[in-house]
């Protein structure tokens, strides 16, 4: 059994009901999971002795703008044991977009989720410190959303007065 089959089999054993899609595009394995199961799946992948996905390399999101489920959160995790990178996705709807945080599973997700919150306005429930990370505090918008103008909203970011 190769690595991919092993992962798929293990995940299917436990999460067959909540997996929405398994895709294998250009050798990148990806699970799409219902949003309420993301933490359980993460914990399982991390703690299962055969898999040991102990490293979270990235958390980001996609804004589909017109889809009914407007956002997709994306997680990249890595197993040193299998030398394998796996992608997890979860579709979430707008107003307001929320999903449970995985920072309790992977500590590194803490800042990645802050970035995702800053850029897309996705609220990570139970996150220990959900503040902006790039944009200044007090900024009211989320710049990577599709409805945010490229040049920004005039006046939304303060500039110093002209020196005299």
């Amino acid at each position: 059994m190769n690595t991919k089959e092993l992962i798929i089999e293990r995940v299917k054993e436990k999460f067959s009901e909540s997996i929405e899609e398994i895709s294998d595009f250009r050798d990148d394995l990806c699970f799409t999971i219902k949003k309420d199961q993301i933490v359980n799946l993460g914990k399982f992948l991390k703690e299962e002795p055969d898999l040991q996905f102990i490293m979270c390399k990235d958390v980001t999101a996609i804004d589909w703008a017109t889809r009914k489920k407007r956002f997709t959160t994306v997680y990249h995790i890595y197993s040193f044991k299998l030398n394998y990178t796996l992608r997890l996705k979860s579709n979430i709807d707008d107003d307001p977009p929320t999903i449970e945080t995985v920072s309790a599973v992977w500590q590194s997700a803490n800042w990645y989720e802050r970035e995702t919150w800053d850029m897309y306005g996705i609220k990570f429930i139970n996150h220990p410190d959900l503040r902006r990370i790039y944009m200044p505090e007090g900024f009211e918008h989320h710049p990577l959303k599709k409805d945010f103008p490229v040049l920004g909203i005039p006046g939304s970011l303060p500039l110093p007065n002209k020196a005299d």
Binding site: Y134, M135, P136, P143, F148, P149, V150, L151, G152, I153, L157, P158, L159, P160, N161, K162, A163, D164
Partner: protein, 172 residues
């Protein structure tokens, strides 16, 4: 008859205080290297032996704004960084000058985006703009020479309780 021959005799020169001060000032412009991104590399290159900014008396890159006369803003100024740039500018003693080095600083450059200030002249009085992405060291030296020319024309009383608008007018 060379200079040495003249100097052997007792002699004197007549000039104005303003001319001497202006000459001294323009020959020792100490830059504050505000290098915030890629342009800073070319600014550093201008200080190396090949381009040798020391020829103009400006080799003393001061990392303390209190000791500088000229701020070289070299790099992309974001809205967040703008506050910092302005604060450092405010800490420099008068008289002071500003070079906007590169496309980013002059106009936002290729970053036509929400996070980048579209030209630092929105919050700083810029004396010389330098074109290029990044400008070559020669171009920076050219900007420095332009500033020197400008400084040479100043008079001491220009800086006494006069508004910027008035100053600009008297210097151009």
């Amino acid at each position: 008859m060379g200079l040495e021959a003249v100097l052997q005799k007792e002699g004197f020169l007549t000039t104005t205080i303003d001319a001497v001060v202006g000459w001294a000032r323009k020959s020792s412009v100490w830059p504050m290297p505000m290098g915030i991104s890629c342009c800073a590399i070319e600014m550093i290159a201008a200080a190396d032996p090949k381009y040798d900014i020391a020829r103009f008396g400006s080799e003393v890159m001061r990392f303390s704004p209190r000791q500088s006369d000229l701020m070289i803003v070299a790099g992309t100024v974001t809205y967040k960084m703008a506050q910092v740039v302005r604060r450092i500018y405010d800490q420099m003693p008068e008289p002071k000058w500003v070079i906007a080095m590169g496309a980013c600083t002059s106009s936002g450059g290729m970053y036509r985006s929400y996070s980048v200030v579209q030209g630092i002249d929105q919050f700083l009085p810029v004396d010389v703009y330098t074109a290029g992405c990044p400008p070559r060291p020669e171009n920076l030296l050219n900007a420095l020479m332009t500033i020197q020319e400008k400084i040479g024309k100043t008079r001491a009383r220009d800086f006494q309780n006069r508004s910027l608008a008035e100053l600009e007018h008297s210097q151009n």
